[in-house]
């Protein structure tokens, strides 16, 4: 099943009097269960594509379907629902809420998705086992290493079983050892659970963990 389809996707920002064409007609297909890395230099449009696929900003034109839902027709409220139910984010800076423990950072994502209580979720238990963070969940982010924080961020992104996991430079702030651990986790999630992953990275070694590498330049896929 095709998880993501983008056709002739454009995004134009207006900065003062100047129009910036961040995406100039992107065509992309990601099949369900694929692990795709998007690489490219700064300014190539990777982050804009990430933000559009994540429903953080609307596209200007084109077609983009995620899990069968067309983003071009979505209102702000629809995109909010998309982020809640269909996509999960992993950021370079982890972006955990500093006042909450690791467990609560995961729980808040469930709460936002409207899932109450503590019903058992065997698939997520397996995810947690893969991430190897069970003993660190009671700590707040300031007491966790970068690698641990990123693994908790991955758990948070997956707790609502999104169709697509979007990772933006997930190893950008990590040392080699932790980078390897996080990338292995992503690969494991993809292989064992069939999680569809789209990862943006500068790092060719990181991109090598993916099934497929897509290169972007000047707002286009090359």
């Amino acid at each position: 099943m095709t998880e993501v389809t983008a056709q002739n996707l454009t995004k134009t920002y207006r900065v003062g009097e100047i129009e910036v064409h961040a995406l100039r007609g992107v065509d992309l297909k990601i099949e369900g269960g694929e692990f795709v890395a998007i690489v490219g230099p700064s300014g190539s449009g990777k982050s804009t594509l990430f933000n559009i696929l994540g429903g953080l900003t609307p596209p200007t034109s084109g077609t983009v379907l995620i899990d069968g839902r067309d983003l071009i027709k979505m209102s702000e409220a629809d995109r909010t629902r998309l982020r809640k139910t269909t996509v999960g984010f992993v950021f370079q800076k982890y972006n955990l809420l500093p006042t909450l423990t690791g467990a609560d950072n995961i729980e808040i994502a469930r709460d936002i998705a409207g899932k109450k209580g503590h019903e058992r979720d065997p698939q997520f238990d397996e995810t947690l086992a893969l991430l190897g963070i069970a003993s660190r969940l009671k700590h707040k982010p300031r007491a966790l290493s970068g690698g641990e924080q990123q693994r908790i961020a991955i758990a948070r992104a997956l707790v609502n079983h999104p169709a697509l996991l979007l990772a933006d430079e997930p190893t950008g702030n990590l040392d080699t050892e932790n980078s390897t651990a996080v990338l292995s986790v992503l690969q494991g999630l993809n292989k064992r659970l069939g999680q569809t992953i789209l990862m943006i990275t500068h790092n060719p070694e990181a991109a090598a963990y993916a099934h497929r590498k897509v290169t972007m330049r000047d707002g286009r896929i090359v």
Binding site: R83, F89, F91, N95, L100, D104, A109, R110
Partner: protein, 361 residues
Amino acid sequence: MIYRLVFENLKHRPVRTLLSVVAIGVEVTLILTLVGVSRGVLGDMAARSRGTGADILIRPPDSAGFTFSLTMPEKVVNVVRAQPHVAMATGTFVKYIDSFNSITGIHVDEFNAMSGGLKVKKGRMFQAPDEIVVDDVYAKQHHLKPGSTTDLAHTWNVSGIVEEGKLSRTFGDIGALQQLFEARGLVSTIYVKLDNPANTAAVKDALQKVLPTYKIDSIEDFVSLFSVNSVPYIEAFTRVVIGIAVLIGFLVVCLSMYTAVLERTREIGILKALGASPAYIVGILLRETVLLALTGTVVGILMTYGTRSLMAIFAASMPQEIVPDWYLTVAGIALAGSIVGALYPGLRAARQDAIEALAYD
């Protein structure tokens, strides 16, 4: 879960949280203290009026509210005494010094017979024209003891301290006061004790026929005037203070939440990325606000016990009542001011662009 986030957010900035709670507490205390003092002072005045032992009170025609003028001839007392069922009647002379102080001239023997007697706790009753006795509240507030002097439009020697609760806080000889304040033969009020309190209405009606222009009330009707509703300026003043208090709460919460929203820009971006709706984000801030307002209300209520103690030390003649019947009202006032204060920061947070918020450092 959302409540844990709310608690943790408030715990994360303890000084800001504490200041907000204290400021809302001050708002609440301000209102409760004003209402409590208003009621306390009026209640005290009512109790002291009852303490005269009289059943009926006669005031001059030009008396307003529950104050007394000095335009009633003392010979009216004899007219009153001549009425059926009147067991005793005595005139008093009230000289107002300022808004908070007055001195009352009495015929000691008559007043004692009617009221059950001023109980001297220290020193003795006044004997010389320049001597007065004061009650223990007044003595405590002004640090007076027998032998002290006090200035009430005249320098008086304090001959004794009497127990509080009977008509006034300061007593002198009525003749001496009439002479000193050039009001010979005039009294402010006539207190009337009947042979049977059950005759009060009938005697009052009879007296009104004899003295048609005078203000004649039963004591209970008179003390019913000592209520906040009967004193328009207290109600107006209370409204003004409530307005100021609400403004304080509004400004404090608005500032506190505004800084919280600025500080948490990135966190708001994270919540938005996780799919939090604007209502969810506003809900977090509103819950924090409600928690601050309710905690502040409890703190404010507790602080009123402190203000009552302070009033007892520094302004003993203005007793403060604790007013539990106002707790819900004041909680509502604190909540309303706080929620309005949180609206702008909340809307600002809800409208924040997720991408910009996530890029915020």
